[in-house]
């Protein structure tokens, strides 16, 4: 992936972090008497006022079910819901709104592809190729599919720095490969995968590619047409939107050929007991009443990120990553896990003699929220022979002072347990 994705674009203005922090009401609080330092953004990010207000407005002003009523509120809700789809389409630079399917999140988006695409295109003896840094949600759906079809899951393993071995990726991309499914950015290590290269290699063999973009969309500009990916999955809640909502982007040609995966209302044109005609894209994959306010909130999050500017966000977070990488060196016994040349917003580490859970508890008492554990990426932990790491992950509202607070907390943890 080009450097421009994680480094500030030429001439990009600096992010005004004080002003941006004011956009997030939750940040102005203390935890255990200390100012909150929220560094668990890879698990979920906080929400700006504009997103909170958008959801509130739905329920206070114009809420009704979508795509059904002829009454005013239903039409307003439908307009706002479909308006969010247009926002997402532009955000991803998708060719058509028909390519944007709302789901419950990245996990559901991937399962949708595994079921609706995978079952029709992966057979006995075929292979699905993933990388060694995948989140469980980009492993288990493929295992289920492979078990059902008698297919094989192949894994391109990680080099010591946490980057995918591309020579292995190339070798594993074989005549039986029916689909490649890889993360854009690793949640556990922060590695940015060279997805453009991976897609080119796969396409050269006629293999479609799904990108798990859950950890990418809040940090770098994604252009699905420039990437030429076939599917792109992500969640709203990691990009400052509400939880319980996500997106599956799919190329129209592929989506059109896929059977529905959940049956119900909204995904049909007509139903009789003899025959049902399915609705057109994207509704065919949106059975049942969706998370209306959540989707509209996601639209507000897209607006927010776009107004701040992803180049500016990437520049700011790159600065935090560089500063944090440097400062963590001061903590005795600390070892970073994941040191790939291209990284985004994640510092995962272990400290000799200290267990991540104990570190997490001490940090909590310093007001610092981090994630400790295997980050739903147990194969990654296995790769490094560790049960868990402590992970600090950044968002656009984090500051260098907060990294200083993290380092102070870590030094306290070392003093307590050493």
């Amino acid at each position: 992936m080009s450097l421009s994705q994680t480094r500030p674009a030429e001439g990009a203005a600096r992010l005004d972090v004080a002003a941006r922090r004011a956009d997030f009401p939750i940040l102005a609080q203390t935890v255990h008497g200390k100012p909150l330092v929220y560094l668990d953004n890879a698990a979920s990010s906080q929400k700006p006022t504009s997103v909170i207000e958008a959801e509130r407005e739905v329920y206070e002003v114009y809420y009704a079910n979508v795509h059904r009523g002829v009454h005013t509120l239903s039409m307003r809700s439908t307009d706002a819901y479909e308006g969010a789809r247009v926002k997402v389409q532009r955000f991803l630079n998708a060719a058509s709104v028909k390519e944007v399917i709302f789901t419950r999140g990245t996990t559901e988006s991937i399962n949708l592809v595994a079921q609706a695409y995978g079952r029709g295109n992966v057979g006995a003896g075929d292979e699905v190729l993933v990388s060694g840094l995948e989140h469980h949600s980009n492993i288990v759906p493929w295992q289920l599919l492979c078990a059902e079809k008698g297919a094989r899951l192949r894994v391109a393993t990680l080099a010591d720095d946490g980057s995918v071995r591309m020579d292995e990726f190339d070798t594993l991309l074989g005549p039986r490969t029916r689909l490649v499914a890889v993360a854009h950015v690793s949640n556990a290590l922060g590695t940015v995968n060279p997805v453009r290269r991976m897609i080119e290699r796969a396409h050269a063999r006629g293999v479609p590619v799904l990108i798990d973009g859950a950890q990418a969309v809040p940090h770098l500009a994604v252009d699905v047409r420039a990437l030429d990916c076939d599917f792109y999955a992500f969640s709203s809640h990691k990009m400052y939107g509400p939880s319980g909502v996500g997106v599956l982007y799919g190329k129209k040609k592929l989506l059109e050929a896929m059977p529905p995966w959940q049956g119900g209302g909204d995904m049909i044109l007509s139903v009789s007991f003899e025959k049902t005609t399915y609705n057109e894209l994207p509704y065919r994959f949106e059975a049942g009443t969706p998370h209306i306010a959540g989707v509209i909130g996601l639209g507000a999050a897209v607006d927010y990120l776009s107004s701040v500017g992803l180049a500016r966000v990437a520049g700011h977070e790159h600065d935090l990553l560089a500063y944090g990488t440097e400062r963590l060196r001061e903590v005795p016994g600390l070892r970073l896990v994941g040191t790939a040349p291209e990284k985004a917003a994640v510092l995962s580490f272990v400290i000799e003699g200290l267990h991540p859970h104990d570190i997490g508890t001490v940090l909590d008492y310093e007001g610092v929220a981090v994630r400790t554990g295997h980050h739903c990426a147990q194969p990654v932990m296995e790769r490094y022979g560790i049960p868990a790491t402590t992970r600090a992950s950044f968002a656009l509202y984090n500051t260098r002072q907060e990294i200083d607070a993290l380092v102070r907390g870590l030094q306290k943890a070392v003093e307590t347990f050493a």
């Binding site: 890879a42 267990h355 104990d358 347990f417």
Partner: protein
């Protein structure tokens, strides 16, 4: 930090740094493995039962301060006890660490002895699993179960539940 000291008492830190009865137990006739999928902690408990009595016990595994100290102090407190006595002690201990309203105030539950230092865990619900992992594993070992126990499926009614996020 005062609350934090409640959790990480000196005795707990001592057992963390120097776990007692650590390692494999030659001649063990019971063993079980425990796993906490939320943090990846693993514990193996080895028991030599003589009749109904725990003649010897040791543990192995990688865990946090709370789980290591809990396992270490558990081995000290159950040696020589009958299965029924161990059951009863675990029940007391579990009520202590889960803030069970029926728990006996730690300092007036003499059978808990030194285990009372874990009373602070009760204020940290997410750490209950850490403190109970070795005990659940011990229980499985005494029951002669071969399958690994997990903090997420065993004794779910005892309030160890929790969730995970990406």
């Amino acid at each position: 930090m005062s609350d934090l000291r409640e959790l990480y008492q000196e005795l707990i830190l001592d057992h963390t740094k120097k776990p007692r009865n650590f390692g494999e137990l030659p001649g063990a006739n019971r063993r079980a493995e425990g796993y906490n999928p939320l943090c990846g902690d693993r514990a193996t408990v080895f028991v030599r039962l003589e009749g109904d009595r725990v003649a010897d016990v040791r543990f192995q595994g990688a865990g946090c301060s709370i789980s290591t100290a809990s396992a270490s102090m558990m081995t000290e407190s159950i040696k020589g006890k009958t299965r029924a006595e161990v059951e009863k002690l675990f029940d007391r201990f579990h009520r202590l660490i889960t803030c069970d309203p029926t728990r006996v105030a730690a300092n007036v539950a003499p059978e808990l002895g030194k285990l009372a230092v874990f009373s602070g865990v009760c204020e940290f619900p997410v750490r209950v699993k850490c403190a109970s992992l070795a005990w659940h594993t011990l229980k499985a070992a005494l029951a002669g179960e071969d399958k690994p126990v997990s903090t997420e499926v065993s004794e779910s009614s005892s309030g160890d539940g929790g969730g995970q996020a990406r």
